[in-house]
């Protein structure tokens, strides 16, 4: 019974993903097609060339082919897994994305975990001490954080820790002038700390405020009143009745934040020159690397989709309250 339901659910989601990707491909291609960008210019850069060569390149890149034909060419190759060649990196788009996304995933995973845990704990503390100075301090902190421009916080941290204290390197994910083989794990770790710290600090706000509100709601419920009547109190009460009820919605919310995480990573990577997918996106956008940009759009849509999918899965299959409801039916 349960497996059948899961199978049905996943089948439905797969169809949804496919239809979403088709529309995203179509829409993003159409948007880029509107742009007056000249792919040949993007490829050759500022070099000056003769008009015959330009004509040849025009033909090669399909400047004069009609949009529909271009789309079907591109989409046809896409179906075979061929995303085209990146204009600025001069390697297949799929390779660029693989490399950059892995680097970003480490960064995003770190900050996602740290911000989730710290945010949750802060939220629990604030909710527990509702109305006291601790609660007010945490609330003020979160409030200010949501208004803070990501890149500004990144700049401040860079200034304080790298320029003044000299604790961390000024950028890049590996030291300059060191061969790739000689880069130690420690080097990589050192270059990861500040970007991850920035993203974590900012990610805390939403989850803490949410947890706080949920906990206050739970503490006002009848079953907590009953538990209090039985003599439970303090941290024990919170852990037994509060945290268990708040944890799942909080985790769900954290999974729904993949879209913002991506945007934050793009800004942070730019400041710290961390060679991840965000930096590749900016480079592709600024230098009109259309194949790479479209590839990134598709992969980021898949990334966001999986975040939402996990949130849905938790909601539908793991939440014990829903199980109970089913049993009752």
């Amino acid at each position: 019974m349960k497996h059948a339901k899961l199978g049905f659910f996943l089948g439905k989601k797969t169809i949804k993903l496919i239809s979403l990707l088709v529309v995203v491909c179509f829409a993003s291609f159409w948007i880029v097609e509107q742009s007056p960008i000249d792919p040949v210019r993007a490829y050759i850069g500022e070099m000056s060339i003769q008009s015959e060569q330009k004509a040849k390149l025009d033909e090669y890149w399909g400047v004069n082919t009609p949009a529909q034909e271009k789309f079907f060419n591109w989409a046809g190759k896409l179906l075979k897994g061929d995303f085209g060649v990146s204009l600025i990196y001069r390697v297949p788009v799929i390779d660029v994305i693989k490399e950059k996304f892995t680097a970003s995933l480490i960064l995003m995973a770190c900050s996602w975990l740290i911000s989730g845990v710290i945010g949750f704990v802060l939220g629990i503390i604030a909710g527990m001490k509702n109305g006291t100075w601790i609660d007010k301090a945490i609330k003020t902190y979160c409030y200010i954080l949501t208004a803070t421009p990501t890149f500004w916080l990144a700049l401040l941290l860079l200034m304080v820790f790298s320029v003044y204290l000299g604790l961390f390197p000024l950028g890049f994910s590996v030291p300059i002038g060191v061969a790739a083989a000689n880069v130690t794990l420690f080097d990589k770790f050192q270059h990861l700390i500040l970007p991850a710290l920035t993203l974590s600090l900012l990610g805390v706000a939403q989850i803490a405020m949410f947890t706080r509100e949920k906990l206050i709601e739970v503490l006002l419920s009848d079953y907590v009143l009953f538990a209090k009547a039985r003599g439970e109190k303090g941290l024990d009460l919170i852990l037994r009745h509060g945290v268990r009820n708040v944890a799942l919605p909080a985790i769900t919310l954290q999974f729904l934040g993949f879209s913002e995480l991506f945007g934050g990573a793009a800004l942070v990577e730019q400041v710290f020159s961390y060679p991840g997918i965000g930096q590749a996106t900016v480079a592709a956008g600024l230098r009109s690397d259309v194949p790479l940009l479209l590839g990134i759009v598709i992969f980021s849509a898949i990334f966001v989709f999986f975040g939402n999918l996990i949130a849905d899965l938790i909601y539908e299959f793991i939440d014990p309250r829903l199980k109970q409801k089913e049993a009752m039916l």
């Binding site: 700049l155 879209s259 956008g285 600024l286 980021s300």
Partner: protein
Amino acid sequence: MSSAIAMGNKSLFQGLNLRQKTILIISFTSILLFAIVIISLFLAGNALPTNFESKNLAPSLEHPFGTDWMGRDMFVRTLEGLGLSIIIGAFASLISTVLTLILGLFSSLGKTADSFVSWLVDLFLSVPHLLLIILISIGMGGGTKGVIIGVALTHWPSLTRVVRAEIKQLKTQEYLHISKNLGKSKWWIATKHILPHLSPQILLGTILMFPHAILHEASVTFLGFGLSPHEPAIGIILSEAMGYLSAGYWWLAFFPGLSLLIVVLAFDMIGENFGKLMNPKMAHE
């Protein structure tokens, strides 16, 4: 947050009730924001004097935010940038609100229309927001125009979602059924019965959209899209400042960013207090 601020100003606000305090906070912050916009509009006309004798000065009484490498006063540049940000934010929120209104009312017309709107919302939320703005701004040919359109066209989905849920709930109300049975058209019901209920929600949603729009505009500009380097946008000031960090010119990045933060906070505060005023349940807290 507002309680913390109210606490700090206890002596000033004593004797006022919550409603009066809330109105006071709203008026103070609004005046501040208006002042920034008006001053920046006055400043925009005259080009900033470059004075190489007073370049890279640390903050002082004469130059509260310091000066940059061309000797331009950072305080003036920041004010201009903030004004530009607020204007772009206002424009973007306005467009997004109009889109929300149209799509919200459209979704009330029937089941197919409703699923179309919900599908469109899902589609816009399926790509990371920042990436979507970049994509649209490129599609529009980049430049200032590209960024403004990109920001304006991408801030409606969350408000539309709220409005749609509200409409769904309204539609179960009896007076709507009666109105329908009396032979009123769908459009008549949408504009005469549903719209008045939505207007406070939409007004609040528009104010709360402001900070998002401003932050996104600054972010995209910081990344190098859109606004040209001559434009005194906060994003551009900060991305320029990045090159001078290792030289120790901390004020180039610190003050403009802080001012942006304060503007965003001010909008948040207006929104929150406005919400309090409109929510009858919280009116006598």
